[in-house]
Amino acid sequence: MEKDFLEHRLNINRRRFLSRLSLGLGSVALGSLLIPDLFSGIGSDSEADFIPGIPNFAPKAKRVIYLFQDGAPSQLESFDYKPKLREMMGQELPPSVRGSQILTGMTAQQKSFPLVGSFYDFKQYGESKAWISDLFPHIGSIADDICIIKSMYTEAINHDPALTFFQTGAQQGNRPSMGSWVSYGLGSENKNLPAFTVLLSKGKGNGQGVYSKLWSNGFLDSIHQGVQFSSGENPVLYLNDQDGIDRRDRRKMLDKIAELNEISYKQFGDPEITTKIQQYEMAYRMQSAVPEIMDVSKEPDDIVKMYGPDCLVPGTYAANCLLARKLSENGVRFVQLYHQGWDQHNNLPQEMAGQAKDVDQASAALVTDLKQRGLLDETLVIWGGEFGRTNYSQGKLEKANYGRDHHPRCFSVWMAGGGIKPGLVYGESDEFGYNIVKDPVHVHDFHATILNQLGIDHKKLTFKSQGRRYRLTDVAGNVVKGILV
């Protein structure tokens, strides 16, 4: 009898437990409706925690061309017009303006910080009335097509960390490059070309190196690594068949290697093996796609006048701009250019004129060229360096000769196309061009915005490596809505 009672009570408890459970499950199910990504796999702990190849929302830009001005061009001789600095030429930088800014070892010992205004005059261009220096008349002529951001800032004060920060979202340099993230997130548009390519050029100005870690895939699959196109006879290294091997032999060889690789993939399951197979196949297709892209002989005369005659001289910035357009037009997601020589610690007026001459016409031509092909809407062009330069002179200040040290607190970049508001000047610096007074844009914000234009939520593009999920924007970044169309 007692046993029966006990059993009955247990039954009641069981029933209660089960009914509570069903209720609980019901509420969980209901609650889950409010969490959009709960069952989609995104953000779960599974290995494939992102599905590559699909944007999160309809993109404005399909492709990016990033014209990186390596060495950090001075904002004060380009896009940030500060007449006050001319008025105060030679006077000391007020300590209140400098605040707590730490200086580089190059000027920290300087006893005096004489303000120096731009050696070059500024003019207003276009309907947007943007102030642009006389060093960049061609960029001035497209002022209504570009958006100048005068309020960029970064955290690093030396070239390598600052450059690495801009390219990978971290200063240390073991992370994937922005182009690699984009390749990982969106995949390749044209299967006959890599999704991420790199082009290098060098001006006569004082230069800083660029290194392949800047276009490294980091912890991402190696297929997302930037592929460098060089100016020599073999634009892509090891792409051409060796002497004595014809296309058919190559095909046979690739088929055989692929078979062997398949076998070893079945054995070990290492995804890098499939990557290898894909890379061989892409290289094979690139053998016919690349020569066509590199061939500039069929470009009409107008193009030569537009980009400047140097665009026919391989390895120049102008040639790289033209090439960037051709690559982009052929579906390369991310074309990264670097033009070295912008590190004007001294002799700035003369060196910067040379650098500007290298890039001014071709940069503007690239934007116009994309526009006249109806491609500017879907291509995002970015122009800028890794930081800015100080408003005071490094070394002795002479009327026509001065230098500027590194300045991370405030500098200018510009963007065009890809859903960025044209004819806009965004952000403001103080009258000394030293601090930002309106709409600051951090490097993380800059990255978030670029990804946003590509249809990617920067918070969702993640990759898990060594126990942690990484993003291009680390744990920060806000889309700069003010510059979007």
Partner: protein
């Protein structure tokens, strides 16, 4: 349990409330609410939720009241009754509060009237049912229809109420966008299409005829001019004293700041537009294009009018079959959804060698879904536009550098959504392209490099104002400086005569050159042709010329003859570790160092640099040339002295030559210079010792002190 006299009291109260409401409705026009009662009225939006919940609960119970099983449940019936009563009572109290509130300033209009009448109907219907529900004739049918009617009234009243507090279409606004009227810039009016939309989006939810907060409505010219209870909105031409601008420019924390904190704020552009509009005399009639092109208001307005056209696209067609997409995808035909979960597809075609019309025809299975089609550089013919016209939802079409002539362009008129058409680089027929207006939805067309003359495009633009015709870059005929000739030679040190190899990337360019150190010109200087042989040390200066261009900068290149190569070479004193190149042989490898002294091709030392050479067969040596670097800023100077020793063997060396270059000056330019040492006597030499001495004491003007200068050498020529 509530005792029955309480129930009786409550029933009486309900009756009283109903009467009061009827009274209020009949005589409301004359009623003035005393100030102390106003807070009671303002509680209306709070209390309202109570009767809604209670009444709905009661209605549900009532609905099932006549069910077999429940008919006899006493508790069920009692509970329902009390719920009814409570609900009706609260409905009455709330309605009265609402009536009080409606008397306050700022509530008016149709929405309010609807809300009022449905609200009081809830009270009346629920009261009526309460009284009838215990009668004999009260059947299941009546109970159910009564319950449904009450709930309906509740919902409708609630909806209108929400419209008053949250603005029209509050609930569906995030998902349902009424189609925005697209106003092309040339048709837009400043007030109607620029200023008014700002009011509409940010102000009108509180300032409308239904809810005139501060006595202000911002719905049309009349109400805008009328202003509110604090006076006129603006003084034309004087934004700084205009109420409108004062309010919007106040700090957001300020009580009088508009829009109130928490509501969507005006953007900088919107504030600017209002400011400029008032500043330019608050004109109600002007068109945007009547303003001067550089006018700030026009510039901002043009920008403001654009985004309305670029609203996030909504696609209402079905998603294509995944397997089909996968099947159609190949190396030269990329098909991809434009976003995760979007039915819209983009298609890019690559490789003109594999392109055939069937590449497009095969897409018939997804023709509804394709919104962008990229056929850049594909040999697409006019006939294929018929296939393309089948992609009914196409938005962007890229036909750049295709074989289209435009003859069949009107086929595309069936594409209702086509916005961007790129025809750059095609050979368009000027007559055919005139049909372009047939594509009504077109916004942008790229016509660069199509051979269409500017005036034709201007005519097209005039006829089709809604389309943006992109002409692109045109050579304005202004000459530009051509770039310099390129030197294709790779070796500049020769033993046997070599050919001069110059070229220019631009076809039809003439290269002129000199060998005597003078600057080349376009008339007298020699024209470069392949086959020019260099036999001795030569300094070439070359310049490129082409009609329509300015002459290029001068390109300079030096060729060095080095007749003899020693069989062995070694350092007697080791050079600096950093600049030791590939050992002593770096100096005779016939590879010049160029301008970058850190590239491993330069040998350098701060001490005497002594090199020893041996020849297996004696040579008849006349000149020894040391190719040295001078770079003043980095303490690199030409050697202060050079000694050349020679003889038959190591033990019989004699001093054959001493050269002392001129002392350095502060502004000596960067230079790479061959320093010739003429040997005193011609004799057969088997051994040679060369000493290059750096400056021991730097000149006074050099900032660096207390260290010797550097000697840099990349090559030694022996002749």
């Amino acid at each position: 349990m509530i005792k029955s006299h309480h129930k009786g009291f409550a029933e009486n109260l309900l009756f009283a409330l109903n009467i009061f409401i009827i009274f209020f409705l009949l005589f409301g026009g004359g009623i003035v609410i005393p100030q102390w009662l106003q807070p009671i009225g303002r509680l209306h939006p709070l209390i309202i939720h109570f009767p809604i919940v209670v009444l709905i609960m009661a209605m549900v119970l009532e609905f099932f009241r006549f069910k077999e099983r429940l008919r006899t449940e006493k508790l069920y019936h009692e509970f329902t009754t009390y719920l009814w009563l409570t609900g009706a009572l609260f409905a009455g109290v709330t309605a009265i509060m609402g009536l009080f509130l409606s008397k306050e300033q700022g509530y008016d209009g149709d929405t309010l009237q609807f809300h009022k009448w449905f609200g009081v109907s809830v009270v009346f219907v629920s009261t009526a049912i309460y009284w009838c529900r215990s009668r004999e004739w009260y059947s299941q049918k009546i109970a159910r229809s009564g319950a449904v009617a009450t709930v309906l009234c509740l919902i409708i009243a609630g909806h209108y109420g929400a419209d008053i507090t949250h603005g029209d279409n509050f609930i569906l606004a995030p998902v349902w966008h009424p189609e925005k009227k697209l106003v092309p810039i040339d048709k837009a009016f400043v007030f109607q299409d620029v200023i008014e939309p700002v009011f509409d989006s940010k102000c009108i939810s509180c300032h409308n005829p239904d809810k005139t907060k501060g006595g202000l409505a911002l719905v049309d010219k009349r109400s805008v001019l009328k202003g509110g209870k604090d006076g006129k909105l603006f003084v034309p031409g004087q934004p700084q004293i205009s109420l409108l601008l004062q309010r919007i420019h106040m700090p957001e924390g300020e009580k009088k700041h508009m829009p109130p904190a928490g509501k969507p704020q005006l953007t900088a552009d919107e504030m600017n537009m209002l400011y400029l509009w008032v500043k330019e005399n608050a004109d109600f009639k002007k068109k945007v294009i009547d303003l001067p092109p550089s006018d700030s208001l026009r510039v901002i307005a043009a920008n403001y009018l654009k985004p309305t056209e670029e609203e996030e696209e909504q696609y209402d067609f079905a998603t294509a079959d995944d397997k089909l997409i996968k099947k159609l995808n190949n190396n030269y035909r990329a098909i991809y959804p434009i976003a995760q979960g979007s039915p819209a597809l983009g298609v890019n075609i690559y490789n003109k060698k594999t392109y055939q019309p069937k590449v497009l025809e095969e897409l018939s299975g997804i023709k509804k879904q394709v919104v962008s089609l990229d056929l850049n550089k594909m040999p697409v013919k006019d006939a294929e536009l018929k296939t393309i016209a089948g992609f009914e939802n196409l938005r962007t079409l890229n036909l750049n550098f295709s074989d289209i002539t435009g003859a069949t362009i009107n086929q595309l008129a069936s594409l209702k959504y086509l916005r961007v058409l790129s025809l750059a680089g095609t050979k368009l027929n000027p007559q055919a392209i005139k049909q372009i207006g047939a594509i009504k939805s077109l916004k942008e067309i790229a016509l660069w490099d199509t051979g269409l003359p500017d005036d034709e495009i201007a005519v097209l633009q005039k006829a089709n104002k809604n389309i943006d015709f992109i002409k692109g870059f045109k050579d304005n005929g202004k000459p530009m400086k051509i770039n310099g000739p390129q030197v294709k030679n790779t070796a500049f040190v020769f033993t046997k005569p070599i050919e001069l190899e110059l070229s220019h990337p631009i076809k039809g360019t003439e290269i002129r050159y000199t060998t005597d150190g003078t600057d080349p010109d376009s008339v007298k200087s020699m024209v470069y042709k392949p086959g020019i042989i260099i036999t001795q040390n030569t300094n070439i200066k070359a310049k490129a010329y082409k009609a329509g261009w300015y002459g290029s900068d001068i390109v300079q290149v030096n060729f060095y003859k080095s007749t003899y190569t020693p069989d062995s070479i070694s350092f007697i004193t080791a050079p600096n570790e950093k600049y030791s190149g590939d050992g002593a042989k770096t100096l005779i490898d016939k590879d010049l160092g160029g301008s970058n002294f850190g590239n491993g091709k330069w040998i350098a030392s701060q001490k005497d640099l002594i090199v020893y050479m041996q020849f297996n067969k004696p040579v008849d040596l006349h000149t020894v040339t040391l190719n040295c670097l001078r770079y003043i800023g980095t303490q690199i100077f030409l050697p202060i002295a050079i000694e050349v020793w020679g003889g038959k063997d190591a033990t019989h060396l004699k001093l054959l030559s001493t050269v002392k270059p001129a002392a350095p000056k502060k502004d000596d330019p960067f230079i790479v210079k061959g320093i010739d040492c003429q040997l005193a006597t011609n004799r057969a030499i088997s051994c040679l010792k060369i000493i290059a001495k750096p400056i021991q004491n730097l000149p006074k003007w050099d900032p660096v002190k207390k260290q010797p200068g550097w000697v840099f050498m990349d090559e030694i020529f022996l002749n």
